[in-house]
């Protein structure tokens, strides 16, 4: 069992930039369904995809993803 919880602000950041799920998916070379899963918190991306998302949203990695330790 993982003892950390990873959450993200992809949906909020994407909407703030006026980017659609399709556009973000194309920028990160993933399917739209992966963006849907990420925004729903159902998928933890690889480090490479996490950086791609941060670059596409023009933010730092820690602005996009947050990690909390389970107590």
């Amino acid at each position: 069992m993982s003892d950390v919880v990873i959450s993200n602000r992809i949906r909020a950041l994407r909407q703030a930039r006026g980017v659609t799920q399709e556009q973000l998916a194309a920028a990160c070379t993933v399917t739209r369904q992966t963006i849907i899963a990420l925004e729903a918190g159902k998928y933890s991306p690889s480090l490479e995809l996490a950086f791609k998302l941060a670059f596409a949203l023009e933010r730092n990695l820690e602005d996009v993803f947050q990690c909390e330790q389970k107590k």
């Binding site: 399709e22 070379t29 399917t31």
Partner: protein, 214 residues
């Protein structure tokens, strides 16, 4: 009004059911209708219909949350099920032969091979049609992770089948295994293991996607 997705699911379901009817249904006529020929006709029509529907409404047949790879996994599950059923029927026909076949030409595999070619071609066509207009990315890291996990489950299924085979060979008296140990029957059993492995992999794949979405 039925959605394209529901019509497609019904057509694929109808293809599987009519295929089972064609393979295992009673021989002869029922109320003057040739059951085997009718089931075969329904099977072919359902396959052609589902391919045409995907060609026309490819964006509507898969749910929005399904990736192309998930759609193809479900398609693979349906077609692998049909292949396994056709193979089971072939084994049954081998069992019914008065003598164990010793040459490849003795195996009544003509019907099975024709069905196999048809199933494979339709599978390929529908899979390609689904891919058209699916966007620039057909497969990404999430799909690959799912496939790696499903592949591992398939490997474990194959190991379990081989282990079971070892146990049977070790524990059962040779007299009872005489039929199974004939070279051509053994070869068919090994092909069966590979088909089961692939089917288990597809089951694990669709289950993996469903589990990830829960």
């Amino acid at each position: 009004m039925w959605s394209s997705r529901r019509i497609w699911a019904v057509l694929l379901g109808l293809a599987v059911v009519s295929f089972i009817g064609d393979l295992f249904g009673p021989a002869g006529r029922w109320w003057g209708v040739d059951i085997g020929a009718t089931a075969a006709a329904v099977f072919h029509l359902a396959l052609i219909g589902s391919a045409i529907l995907v060609g026309i409404r490819r964006r509507d047949v898969l749910p929005e949350t399904w990736s192309l790879a998930e759609g193809r996994a479900w398609l693979g599950l349906a077609f692998m099920t049909m292949i396994l059923l056709a193979f089971a029927k072939l084994l049954w026909n081998l069992w019914l032969l008065p003598e164990v076949p010793t040459r490849l030409s003795d195996v009544p595999a003509g019907h099975f091979l024709r069905e196999l070619v048809l199933i494979y071609i339709v599978w390929l066509v529908i899979s390609q049609l689904l891919g058209r207009g699916a966007g620039p990315v057909e497969l990404d890291e999430r799909d690959l992770r799912m496939q790696v996990r499903a592949n591992r489950v398939g490997d474990w299924a194959l190991i379990a089948a081989i282990f079971q085979c070892i146990m049977v060979l070790a524990l059962f008296p040779a007299v009872l295994l005489q039929w199974w140990l004939a070279p051509l029957i053994l070869a068919h059993a090994l092909i069966g293991f590979l088909i089961i492995r692939s089917l288990v992999e597809h089951v694990a794949l669709v289950a993996g996607y469903a589990w990830a979405r829960r």
